[in-house]
Every structure is written in structure tokens, then in C-alpha cells.
Amino acid sequence: MKTDTKISGSGKIGQGEYNLIKISGSGAIEGPVTFETFKVSGSCKVCPNAALEGNEMHISGSIHSQSEIKVNTLHVSGSLHSENDMKVRSLKASGSCHLQGKIYADEIYVSGSLKSSEEVNADIVEIRGMATLNDLFGEQITFIPENCNSFNFFRFAKHRKLSNVKNIECTTLEAGCLQCDTISAKNILLTDGCVVNHIQCDGTLSYDSTCQIGTVEGNCAQKLLS
């Protein structure tokens, strides 16, 4: 029979099957756990060889995981740092996400910052804020710039902070304030000072005059937005 386990203050949770895991304060997961619901209000450290698998995870605070995470829904308000792979149906994060392993998801919504050195692969990706990524793959990817324009007082010049992605491959991309080495997509819309070295496009490529685009390959209809 699955039990509930709760930590108030500080404590550790070992291997097991749980219905509810609730950490208020500071907790450490020391063995592989399965759960229906996992709630953290405070901080949680997941040790190596302590894979998490379950239905819902709600993090209000911070979680640092050295093991795999496989959940249906993951809501983070605060900070998520994962050193291992993640597989989720839905990730919604406000705050910062630092991923050192792959993340496979149906949908990823990040408001804040997303940093990943490995593959980010999801049907829908929406990043509202800043991202530093290596490979980003999906169906529909959106970068919504927020506060990417700032004024440099000494140079009396506008300065743009750009998200930085090495490689994007998707069906549809809409992006503002994005710097990218390579974009391969069917339909692309770029605004707000995007800088892209190479585009492979076989549908429509639309961009405004603030964008800098290197080479374009493929059979696409190009449109300069006014």
C-alpha cells in the first residue's frame, strides 16, 4: 500500500512507492521513488541513483536533481536544476531552469530563464524571457522577448539581450530577440533584432528590418515585414 510521507524542517526520503511526498523546508531524496504527487515548498536535493517517477510535481522553491525525472506534469515556481535526463508531459516553469541532461516533453512553458547544454525536444516550446540552449527540436517553438531592450547610458545606445541557441529544428518558429547559429524549419517569423547565421526553410520566412540573417537555403517564400 502506498503511503504519504512528509518532511517539515529537514529530512531524507529513501527508496519507495508513495502516494504523496511533501517537503516543507529542506529535503533530500536518497533512493528511487515513485509517487502520485510530489510537493516541495523550500528546497529539495535528489541524490544520484534516486530516480523520480510519478504523476505530478509541484516545486515552489528549488529542486536540484542528480537523477532522472519522469513525471506527467512538473510545475516549478523558483528554480529547477537537473543534472540528468528528464521526461515530462508538461513542464511549466516560472523562474530559472538549468538543465544538464536531455529534456523530452510534450510541452514546455518557461517564463524566466532556460539554460540547457543538451537536447530540448518537445512538441510545443514557449520561452518568455531568456534562453541559452544547444539543440532545440519540436513542432511549434516560440520565443517571446521580454525586457530584451535596455538602454546603455554610457553609449547612449539601445542594447539588446538575446537568447542564444545553437541549433533549432522545428515545424514552426516565431522568435524575437534570438541569436541562433542554424534554424531549420518549415515556417519562420523573426522580429526584434534576431541574429541568425544560417536558415534552412521550405515554407515561409518572414522577418523585420531589425533582424540580421546570414545564408538562406531551401525553397521558401521570403517576406520582409514593414
Binding site: K87, Y104, N121, D123, F137, G138, E139, Q140, N167, E169, C170, T171, D181, T182, S184, A185, K186, N197, H198, Q200, D202, T215, E217
Partner: protein, 226 residues
């Protein structure tokens, strides 16, 4: 063989099959297209991804044909894992008509066990076939078994070539794990390659032959015809 004949670029794959980036990467996430099939090579624009041509086209066609009949998760289970995970008991070994009882007995003595992995079964079948084809004499075979059996017990990769080598009238076994299509094996001219077999191809043949006996899971063609 020219790489362009054996490999297909991602660009050409999407064009040939009509699938989208979103579909391709969704199928990768679901395990329908193995990660090792995504081979990155340098290109003038940075990096380009290539796939084993025959395998990827067969796989995409199978997915497109079957995705209305099965969920992606079911498809991932049906379409071949690269190796079956089951082990075979002494009684089950008797079902393989290819295996000589004395070869099986010698494997049991050398490895001090009576259950075997599928790779070990394939190696037993190979040795028995080579004896039947008079590629190796009976006594030479039984001298070979102790060393080959010990090595075979450590192999977990089905993409392996098993070679029978002759050096100064003595026989030796060589296992090439994950051989590259561009690679080649150059041997001292005193070493003669008597024969070789792809364990992956043998795996497919044996699984087809004994599919009802052992309920093996299969590759695209068999699933489509089922």
C-alpha cells in the same frame, strides 16, 4: 560503399517522406526512431544529421502505415528493440533445432550456468552452423568454445559481427562490436578469415523462425503484415 548510398540526410528524409520536423522529433522522443540513428557530421553550415538510409525509410514507412492502428507507445513496443531481453533456459535451448546438444552442454560447463542470453544463443547457433558447413572440424570447434563462450557472455550489443579466424591451423573467434559502415578490418596476412556472420541479421532470421515459440517482437515488415 559510398556514404550517400548508405546514408540519408535529414533534409532529404523530410523531403522524401513528407514528414515534418515535429513528427521526426516526436518519434525520436517516443523511441520509435533510435537515437543512434541520428548521426551528426560536419558540414559547411556547421553540422548536418544523417540516418542509415534503408533502416530509416523502412521505419518511417512503417510508422506512417501503423500510426492509425496503434498508439505511439504501442508502436514503440512492437517495433523492434535491438535485442530481446529475455533469457533462455536449458529446456528452451532444445527448441532451437540449430543447436547441437554438446555445444549447449559445453557452454553450460564453461559459463557455469544454465540460462543464456539471446546473444549467447545466437553464438551457439553460429558455431553449430559453421560445423555443419565443415568450416571447422568437430574437435577444433570444441577447443574454440571455452574462449568464445566467455567472450560472448560479455556482449550486450546486437550490432556485432562474429568472425572465425584461422592462424597457423588454429581457430579463434573475433567479435566486432558496432562496426562502422566506413570501417574495414585489416589483418596480418598470416590470419585468415574463414567466415563471418552479422549477429543482427541472424537475430532477425531466428526471431522470425521462432516467433510463435517465444513470442518475439518484430521489425516493421512483420508488424505491418500482422
Amino acid at each position: 560503399m559510398d556514404i550517400s548510398q548508405k546514408e540519408l540526410s535529414k533534409k532529404d528524409l523530410l523531403k522524401t517522406t513528407g514528414i515534418s520536423y515535429g513528427q521526426l522529433y516526436r518519434w525520436k522522443r517516443e523511441g520509435l526512431i533510435p537515437e543512434e540513428w541520428f548521426v551528426k557530421r560536419p558540414s559547411p553550415t556547421g553540422q548536418e544529421t544523417f540516418f542509415p538510409k534503408e533502416q530509416i525509410l523502412k521505419r518511417v514507412q512503417a510508422i506512417q502505415t501503423l500510426k492509425d492502428r496503434y498508439s505511439l507507445e504501442e508502436l514503440a513496443k512492437l517495433l523492434s528493440p535491438e535485442i530481446t531481453n529475455r533469457v533462455f533456459t536449458e529446456e528452451e535451448l532444445e527448441c532451437f533445432t540449430e543447436i547441437d546438444i554438446r555445444v549447449a552442454a559445453d557452454f553450460m560447463d564453461v559459463l557455469n550456468k544454465d540460462t543464456f542470453t539471446f546473444i549467447e544463443v545466437l553464438v551457439m547457433i553460429t558455431l553449430c552452423r559453421w560445423k555443419e558447413q565443415n568450416l571447422i572440424q568437430e574437435q577444433e570447434l570444441y577447443d574454440l568454445i571455452p574462449n568464445v563462450a566467455t567472450t560472448a557472455a560479455n556482449i550486450t550489443e546486437i550490432k556485432t559481427f562474429f568472425l572465425l579466424l584461422a592462424i597457423n591451423e588454429a581457430y579463434y573467434g573475433l567479435f566486432l562490436l558496432n562496426p562502422s559502415p566506413e570501417g574495414s578490418l585489416l589483418l596480418d596476412e598470416r590470419i585468415k578469415v574463414v567466415c563471418q556472420i552479422s549477429l543482427q541479421e541472424l537475430c532477425h532470421e531466428i526471431k522470425l523462425k521462432y516467433k510463435d515459440t517465444f513470442s518475439f517482437t518484430f521489425d516493421e515488415e512483420t508488424v505491418k503484415n500482422s
